[in-house]
Amino acid sequence: MMKRLAKVAWYSLVSCTLFLLGGCGQQPTESGPQAERGAKEPISSPQPTQVVQKPILLAVAGPFTGDSSEFGVQIKMSVELAAEELNAKGGIGGRPIQLMLEDDAGNPAEAYNVATKIASNPNVLAVIGHFNSSCSLAAKSAYTEAKMVMFSPASTNVNVTKNSDYVFRNIFTDDFQGQSLASYAGEILGAKKVAILFDNDDYGRGLKESFKKKAETLGVTIVSETAYAKDTNDFRSQLTTLQGYQPDLLLVAGLYKHAAVIAKQARELGIKTPLIGGDGVFSEQFITLAGQAAEGTYVSCPFLFELGGERAKKFAEQFRAKYNREPDAWAALSYDAFQLIIKGIETNGPSREGIHRYLKAINSPATAYDGLTGKTFFDEEGDCRKPVQVAVVKGGRFTAAEKQLSIEEEASPAKGDDQTTK
């Protein structure tokens, strides 16, 4: 009897707890359902009342949910802002812009599905996206078959624009980024000995190789190269090994997660060598995670609002006013991508072919489009050569480094390396 009672008592204690937990779980999240709806249906931007003409449909595809949603949401917000601005002015020849928002969740398989869906809708003229290189690679064949422009504001993998006439981007490639980092390290920071820690994946290896190639031409010695796997969280021994070489600079070719741990453990070991990293490290999370240890880290990034002109400042203000948060570099790049596509429609009329023809014609500095993020023009692959900007962590945030790479300095040696860049 007693035993059974004890059992009943136990179960009720457990079930009470589960009930409490269940109650928590059911709390509606404010953003969830809305984001879901936003991703599934095309949403129309507010339109002036007199408009009755058929809207022009553009697609935005990116990770609005999942691991990289932080970036994807910025892209979506930025394009929505741009479309709203345009529609308030009456759209293109009286026709408003309507956006079709598709979520790829940062997953290549999903990206392909989304791409098929977008490409099979004849009313969609072009797509801005995708974010992750792996997604862009998976999706591009669908757009190419449908002869539709895919404009990525974020994918940096070298292969994204290859073997397709219809893929464009207004961000640098990993190759170019690695070369620029090497130029910065060698010419501006004056480093003689560089140690490398790299993530053993496509991004890490690619960045490391291009850095190394360029560094050798500048007379910078790579004193050590150490690979690490994704689940590594103890770099102390590796750091002790490379400290033995007394490098002037430590390149972390990987993501902010690992860079933060490396920074923290290096400072804990008393290693004062400054860190330098690619755009994988360019995330607020890096500073949050590494704290004081992040100070003085150099990071290459596609765009810094500080270095942008008046228009970039105005865009940032509008963005803040509408969404109550800071725009990131990809927001600015997406804004430019949207404007380029709109220019294409204005010049050649609303057709897939017209946009493609327009972007193909922007192929030299003379015809370049001058946007928020500087001058954009494409080579025959659809890649764009924009200077890499360098940020340094100071006072707990990314600020523009005092000295930036000048375009000439970068452009001239880069030309010699054309073979490797493309």
Binding site: C24, D234, S237, A260
Partner: protein, 423 residues
């Protein structure tokens, strides 16, 4: 018995000396000792966790795979007192309250023992659970606020919660299965490990975290002490590492004394030898098992925050790798044997830290010697690196390979079986 132990000790000592000689010949004493200084704190932490595996296995022959998760959660228990929730509508404080109520209630219920009426026990446990949950809720920092209790008080509470978690885990998940075949609680342990990982992920999110710098006592921030200078290499150790080693050694010494010198310790040893006979002699086996879980979890709770303070990020899956290293150490030392677990932990920790040293093998004199003899070519070595990667990527693999090697030659582990003292 004595002679085999001496023999194996001599063999290991010999191997270690050979290794030392090899490294010293290549790099010099300074480098060797610096790596040793990195490995010792790592080993001390792994040893403290390995003891938890070994102690439970010694008594009920269960490999508690959820032990790594206890380690992870106890670091989060400290974090929850230091860091406010991410948003005002955050669900975390409510889940935390529920968890604290559950584990404190469960532990109280278990501690009240067999003799009393179930109704009374339930009433008391329920009351304690509600009070503890409410108090805990009041101690959590509010949204946008600062920590309400000092670091060390939070640390002590985190250790207490870890003990409660260990006891509750045993009471809820393992005790009902005590009579079942051994495979069943093992599967339960794996399930429990996944469950706890997911609870942590729901509550604190999947991102990596550190303790906030402004809430950490200066004692634990990276002050470095130079122990000695050899040639032009400084032998350095951070104050935190020194604290870790001292804390680990002290707690192990206390534990050994407890197991060998007290009546309760004797009861534990008796249970380890033969549970059935022990219960016939009037030992409350269930209480002894609960105590073993509490001690194991408490040790994990003691070292977990130190591990995070050392600069290893805290995230829900973190218990897995640490747990698996500790498990390997427990097996290496002879699972069920406490001294074995401590030694095993140290060995694994030190090996783990030495692996990246070989990244620079091609610049060492030994490499040059091999090259001269024609055993190796530089191109061949580069090709090997390109195909298989560098040694430091195999840190975990080398630690495991070492464990497997030991088990092949001595299946019971370094100190297993030969001694009857299992607890």
């Amino acid at each position: 018995m004595k002679t085999t132990a001496w023999k194996s000790a001599a063999i290991w000592l010999l191997l270690f000396s050979a290794f030392t000689a090899f490294v010293v010949a290549n790099k010099g004493w300074g480098v060797f000792l610096n790596y040793l200084l990195l490995g010792i704190p790592q080993g001390a932490i792994i040893a403290a966790i390995a003891v938890g595996y070994s102690m439970v296995y010694g008594i009920i022959q269960l490999i508690n795979f959820a032990h790594g998760e206890v380690f992870m959660l106890s670091a989060y228990f400290l974090l929850m007192f230091l860091v406010p929730p991410e948003s005002p509508s955050s669900v975390a404080p409510r889940i935390i309250t529920a968890i604290v109520g559950l584990i404190v209630g469960g532990a109280t219920y278990t501690v009240l023992g067999e003799g009393r009426s179930a109704r009374l026990k339930f009433a008391v446990a329920g009351f304690v659970a509600v009070v503890a949950a409410a108090l805990n809720f009041l101690l959590l920092p509010q949204w946008g606020g600062a920590a309400k209790i000092p670091f060390f008080a939070a640390y002590a509470l985190a250790i207490l919660y870890a003990c409660c978690l260990g006891v509750t885990m045993d009471r809820l998940a393992y005790r009902p299965l005590r009579a079942s075949p051994r495979l069943i609680p093992l599967i339960t342990a794996i399930g429990l490990s996944l469950l706890l990982q997911n609870v942590a992920q729901v509550t604190w999110g999947s991102a990596s975290r550190f303790f906030p710098a402004n809430a950490t006592p200066t004692l634990f921030t990276g002050k470095r002490i130079v122990l000695a200078t050899i040639g032009n290499t400084n032998l350095e150790m951070s104050l935190l590492d020194a604290i870790i080693v001292v804390v680990a050694i002290a707690s192990m010494a206390v534990l050994q004394t407890f197991v060998l010198r007290t009546r309760t310790g004797k009861a534990m040893r008796a249970c380890a030898q033969d549970r059935m006979t022990a219960s016939l002699m009037g030992i409350r086996v269930d209480s002894v098992v609960a105590l073993a879980f509490a001690i194991g979890a408490g040790l994990a709770g003691l070292v977990a925050p130190l591990y995070v303070l050392r600069g290893t990020p805290l995230y829900p899956q973190m218990g897995y790798i640490v747990g698996i290293l500790a498990f390997a150490s427990a097996v290496l030392g002879g699972i069920g044997n406490l001294t074995g677990a401590m030694i095993g932990g140290m060995i694994i920790g030190i090996i783990y830290s030495f692996v990246p040293l070989f990244d620079a093998f091609d610049t060492s004199p030994v490499f040059a010697l091999f090259e001269k003899w024609g055993w190796l070519t530089r191109e061949g070595f580069q090709q090997f690196l390109a195909a298989f990667g560098r040694p430091s990527q195999y840190q975990l693999g080398v630690a495991y390979a070492f464990m497997i090697l030991v088990i092949i030659f001595k299946p019971t582990g370094l100190l297993g079986k030969a001694t009857a003292k299992r607890a």
